[in-house]
């Protein structure tokens, strides 16, 4: 564990001195947090009832609203679209960090001396994974906290209360980290097969596609996210993550990476 922590600390000192990475990691969460709040400010000025027509909301969404009035339910429908934006962060941030931290070792030719040390593949990937997952999770949670505070000021109180319900908390605090872990595993796999950080980053970003489908499905009313479904997603992700981790470690062949990358 000591070496995992040593590697993660080094990654943070190294990666966050890379302006491109820092910019990507800071900009996306800032936009994804500011945008919903700005929309809420705009809608709040008009009044939620006037801004959103009840007809814009899929009928099935009423089940999610529970005891909310129709107008509040419509407002909550709008706010709930933002939840998925908060799940984009734990996917995008670790991909950027992991791509630069793994393929970056190739570019700077630092991987060989690193592999010459008594560090196991698991410790190496564990350190790099931690370095990518932890900032993503912390940033997502921090942005969610900021969003939550903003919603309390900008949305009706009943709607604000729904943002902190079990479904949201499960999504942000359980699904978010699991998504981040999946993203890192994908980035490790892609990085093991490419020699350019940007290529690794762009290919790994494909991991966001399933979430985009969920987002579109929810807007179209095809998918109805509720606590039960999010719980199932979390369980499914945990299983997928376990498989991805095993596959990523297996794919990270120290020897072939060394001989292919030189």
């Amino acid at each position: 564990m000591h070496k995992v922590w040593v590697i993660a600390r080094k990654e943070w000192s190294e990666v966050f001195r890379n302006r491109l990475v820092l910019f990507t990691v800071a900009l996306l969460p800032a936009i994804l947090t500011a945008l919903p709040l700005a929309i809420l400010v705009g809608i709040g000025r008009q009044g939620f009832g006037d801004a959103i027509a009840t007809g814009d909301m899929p009928e099935s969404f009423l089940q999610v609203c529970g005891g909310l009035a129709l107008e509040d339910c419509t407002a909550y429908f709008l706010v709930s679209q933002f939840l998925l934006l908060f799940l984009l962060m734990p996917l995008a941030i670790p991909v950027t960090i992991a791509s630069y931290s793994i393929v970056g070792e190739k570019v700077t030719r630092t991987l060989e001396p690193l592999l010459a040390t008594p560090v196991s593949t698991l410790q190496l990937l564990g350190g790099k994974g931690l370095a990518a997952v932890a900032p993503a999770v912390v940033v997502t949670w921090a942005c969610f906290a900021v969003f939550n505070i903003g919603v309390r000021f900008l949305a009706p109180p009943q709607v604000a209360a729904k943002v902190a319900d079990p479904m949201w908390l499960l999504a942000i605090f359980v699904v978010g980290p699991l998504l981040a872990l999946a993203a890192v595993c994908v980035a490790v796999m892609v990085s093991s097969r490419t020699s350019e950080p940007r290529v690794a980053e762009q290919v790994s970003m494909l991991v966001m596609l399933p979430l985009m489908f969920v987002l579109m499905g929810q807007v179209a009313g095809l998918i109805l996210l509720n606590t039960e479904m999010v719980a199932y997603i979390a369980i499914g992700l945990a299983v997928v993550d376990a498989g991805l981790m095993a596959f990523a470690v297996n794919l990270f062949q120290r020897e072939s990476i060394l001989t292919r990358w030189h």
């Binding site: 000192s13 700077t108 001396p113 690193l114 010459a116 196991s120 020897e255």
Partner: protein
């Protein structure tokens, strides 16, 4: 300190290293010489437990390759062809990171020791990317020594360095020798190998020769004595050819070149014979064959086996008979 037996490595159909068998003694600087693609880097990567051999076996500092690779990695320091430093990290952070990975007990003390040794203590807070090439290479060598390994592998330590930086690094390697470490040096720089190495292995996939540079020169070329004469006549040449211990005589301008095995004992006889034949000797010197001459000969396949003696009666041309390479007697 290092023993390999039939160490072989294939990459698909490509044979990178072919049945390499050798021994590196404790405390010596051992050179691996060979052209690009000869398998030098592959060999030291195998010996540093970075890649696995296809067949054969090796022991490094008492650790069997493939049996306890993590223990083996603690016994060796490895300098890669490029320094491989984290340019954005400070010089201190670069060393501290690896000291932690090697489980060095007193990380701060060890890092301070090496930074002071390198004269970099005052620049410890500067990013490694700000250092000169020579200093970067020295920092990379220091990184390989942090865990105090008895065996150090140096892959092309002076390649891409200017002469001054290369000199700095060579001095540093000399200091490592004085510390009693066993050093394995891969290099294209034959002059460097000649000056630094106690023994060299010349190979191209398989071992072509292995010995001390001076011994290889002697075995492949014998020792050549140059007689500068005021005037060169045919009888002078015949006077030398009359001796059975003279394996070859060549003439270039007013110089006679005699190949002998033991010049210290045989030169007085030759000088006396030349004087009796009427020669006026102005100067006697020894033609120094360089390790490059040895290397090129081996690479051209003129001598296939290791420890090959010089061909008796050789009529080879005077190899780049520059007066600068003559050693006066």
């Amino acid at each position: 300190m290092i023993e390999t037996r039939n160490l072989t490595r294939r990459f698909g159909t490509v044979l990178a290293v072919d049945r390499l068998t050798l021994t590196v003694r404790p405390g010596e600087i051992f050179g691996f010489l060979g052209p690009n693609g000869a398998g030098k880097t592959t060999t030291i990567r195998m010996l540093a437990a970075l890649i696995e051999p296809t067949s054969g076996e090796a022991t490094v500092a008492g650790c069997r390759l493939g049996k306890d690779d993590n223990r083996l990695r603690r016994q060796v320091g490895f300098l890669t062809e490029t320094p491989g430093l984290y340019d954005r990290l400070t010089t201190e952070a670069n060393l501290a990171y690896f000291a932690h990975l090697y489980d060095v007990e007193d990380v701060h003390g060890r890092v301070e020791h090496y930074l002071k040794w390198l004269g970099l203590w005052d620049r410890r807070a500067e990013p490694a990317g700000a250092l000169s090439k020579g200093m970067r290479q020295k920092l990379a060598i220091a990184r390989a020594l942090l865990h105090d390994p008895p065996v150090v592998f140096l892959d092309e330590p002076t390649s891409a360095l200017d002469p001054e930086a290369a000199h700095l690094v060579r001095e540093f390697i000399g200091e490592l020798r004085r510390e009693g470490r066993t050093i394995v040096l891969c290099t294209h720089n034959l002059d460097e190998a000649d000056r630094l190495c106690d023994r060299v292995a010349v190979f191209r996939q398989r071992l072509l020769a292995l010995d001390a540079p001076a011994e290889l020169r002697r075995q492949l070329f014998g020792r050549k004595v140059v007689f500068h004469l005021k005037e060169l006549k045919p009888e002078h040449s015949r006077a030398l050819q009359a001796f059975p211990f003279v394996s070859g005589v060549q003439t270039v301008d007013r110089r006679l070149l005699a190949t002998v095995q033991d010049p210290e004992r045989q030169n007085p006889v030759l000088v006396r014979s030349l004087v009796e034949a009427g020669a006026e000797i102005q100067f006697v010197g020894e033609l120094r064959q360089t390790l490059e001459d040895v290397y090129l000969r081996l690479m051209k396949g003129e001598v296939g086996a290791k420890h090959s003696p010089a061909t008796p009666g050789s009529t080879e041309p005077l190899p780049n008979a520059s007066p600068l390479r003559e050693k006066g007697q």
